[in-house]
């Protein structure tokens, strides 16, 4: 059985003359958690966006469940229905209640019946302890609560893969914990995740694999133990030294 969910092969991405990704290859298997680490501007966010077709790529290939996303017959909207994405700045819809934020995808993209989707959405909100805030609008929630709702919004699509783009970077330090706890729970339940993060302790705890990106090059990949305790490359050791 082939259990590779996402595969990037020598992916190149340019913005004008600037090469943001320079031949990055990465594999993500079912139930696997991979953390992308690296300085700001190293290409972590761009890599995530290439995975769900928010960006087109200029070289190499991306495939999902063994199907190349470069095939012109592939519908990006269908691809994205299998891939959840959570953003640094939450991007909840301010004109919709918490519940409607969670329902929008299942009801409007998956065309599920609103009553069924609603029960499931409320159960998800219950899991993060925000069921009683279902009718509130996002700007009445704290940053940590908003980000957890954003994660639940992605989960409501029952994605095969979750992409998380520095989801705690915009949060007050006191609120980071609740979001990371939720992600740890998800990891323990076997959610497949590709996580760009600056939280090294979190990465060490939840990741099966750590990938270090430097200026668009995937310098080194390995288990947390290999990366944090026995990095092969000087630039990896240098980076870890600086963030410690």
């Amino acid at each position: 059985m082939n259990d590779v969910v996402l595969e990037l092969n020598a992916v190149v991405k340019r913005f004008d003359d600037h090469e943001v990704l320079r031949g990055v290859s990465l594999q993500l298997r079912r139930h696997e958690v991979v953390c992308l680490i690296g300085a700001s501007g190293s290409g972590k966010s761009t890599l995530l966006r290439c995975a769900n077709m928010l960006e087109t790529i200029d070289g190499g290939s991306v495939s999902l469940f063994g199907q190349s996303l470069l095939d012109p017959r592939v519908d990006p909207d269908l691809v994205r229905r299998h891939i959840g994405m959570v953003f640094q700045s939450f991007n909840l819809f301010p004109h919709l209640s918490v519940l409607d934020n969670v329902l929008l995808g299942p009801v409007r993209a998956l065309k599920r019946k609103k009553s069924d989707a609603r029960d499931e959405a409320l159960a998800l909100l219950d899991r993060i302890g925000l069921r009683d805030r279902a009718d509130d609008f996002p700007d009445h929630l704290s940053g940590g609560q908003q980000q957890r709702v954003a994660i639940v919004r992605s989960l409501a699509m029952r994605p095969d893969l979750l992409l998380l783009d520095e989801v705690t970077s915009a949060l007050d330090p006191t609120l980071v914990g609740e979001v990371l706890d939720l992600l740890s729970d998800l990891a323990n339940q076997g959610t497949t995740m590709l996580i760009a993060t600056h939280e090294m302790n979190f990465a060490r705890d939840v990741a099966h694999q750590i990938a270090y990106l430097d200026q668009g090059v995937l310098v080194e990949q390995g288990t947390p133990d290999q990366i944090f305790n026995a990095a092969q490359h000087a630039s990896t050791r240098n980076f870890l030294e600086r963030v410690r």
Binding site: L54, D77, N91, L92, F93, R108, M157
Partner: protein
């Protein structure tokens, strides 16, 4: 190496009190001052009507109470049409135009922002349309539609009343403006909102309908009402075709009695129609500003 500033060692306490003249108008004295100022300025403006050499005849020509009343209610025996009846024409013309403008404006904006390669000719047409109708003076559009469509002798298109041609002209011109208002509103929605919606697998159209437009509406309403105020006044331009609306009725009264008071009446009632709208627009803008202030805290 020390910095360029010497430490302040003088121990002098800085003066924090404003000079006396800026403290005069605090509290109740401020209210008194603004009342006096208003009465004074208004007095000066009005006194021009009395002091000017032609003041007496100006007052008679523009503010004769009897002539104003006659122009308002009309005098059928002498062929003077009532401004109050004409005003009804203005009101339905702008109400119908506003509804049509709303739809056509949105359709134009939507077309200009579409992405499908198949729609390219429509995108070009929509762009051309907004360029053309924002560029041609409304007065000329009124003439072209009002005289042009009947000249076509093309079925029902050529056999409408001047008021209908007025509605068509207003709709054509104002749709171009309003489509730009819509477009600006749509573009003002943060990109992160689109990324989030598309990441959920929503199509371009669903994203527009469920995420972009509902958020754009808030930004759009004040400038939209602004254009509507302008549209309401511009119904007066249809009078050049001979459509009997308030301005036309006033002109008739003027030509029969050689007294311009009818124009004053028409002007007053245009004010009565637009002032609630301008006040409402300002109110919305203030509310929106307050909301932005709160959400940026």
């Amino acid at each position: 190496m020390t910095l360029g500033f010497d430490a302040d060692t003088s121990n002098e306490i800085p003066n924090l009190f404003a000079p006396r003249r800026s403290r005069i108008f605090v509290g109740r004295r401020g209210v008194v001052a603004s009342t006096i100022s208003c009465v004074l300025i208004l007095g000066i403006v009005v006194s021009v009507l009395f002091v000017a050499p032609g003041g007496a005849s100006f007052r008679h020509v523009f503010f004769d109470p009897h002539e104003m009343w006659v122009a308002w209610v009309g005098d059928p025996r002498r062929g003077i049409l009532a401004i109050k009846d004409g005003l009804v024409t203005n009101i339905w013309m702008f109400l119908v135009s506003e509804v049509l403008v709303l739809f056509l404006g949105l359709a134009l904006a939507w077309t200009r922002m579409s992405q499908s390669p198949v729609l390219l000719p429509f995108r070009i047409l929509a762009t051309g349309y907004t360029d053309i109708f924002r560029g041609i003076p409304l007065l000329l559009v009124v003439f072209m539609v009002g005289y042009g469509l009947p000249a076509l002798q093309f079925g029902f298109l050529s056999s409408q009343s001047f008021a209908i041609y007025g509605v068509i002209s207003l709709t054509l011109t104002y749709s171009a403006y309003v489509s730009e208002v819509f477009r600006a509103g749509i573009l003002s929605v943060p990109n992160g909102q689109l990324l989030a919606a598309r990441s959920l697998g929503l199509t371009h159209a669903s994203t527009m309908r469920r995420v972009t437009l509902p958020q754009a509406i808030r930004t759009v309403i004040p400038p939209l009402l602004n254009d509507f105020i302008s549209l309401q006044k511009d119904t007066a331009l249809v009078s050049v075709l001979g459509a009997v609306e308030a301005t036309r009725a006033a002109q008739i009264a003027v030509s029969v009695d050689f007294n311009e008071s009818g124009l004053t009446v028409a002007a007053l009632f245009f004010l009565v129609l637009t002032i609630p709208m301008t006040r409402f627009t300002d109110h919305l803008l203030e509310k929106d500003r307050a909301r932005r202030l709160v959400s940026s805290l």
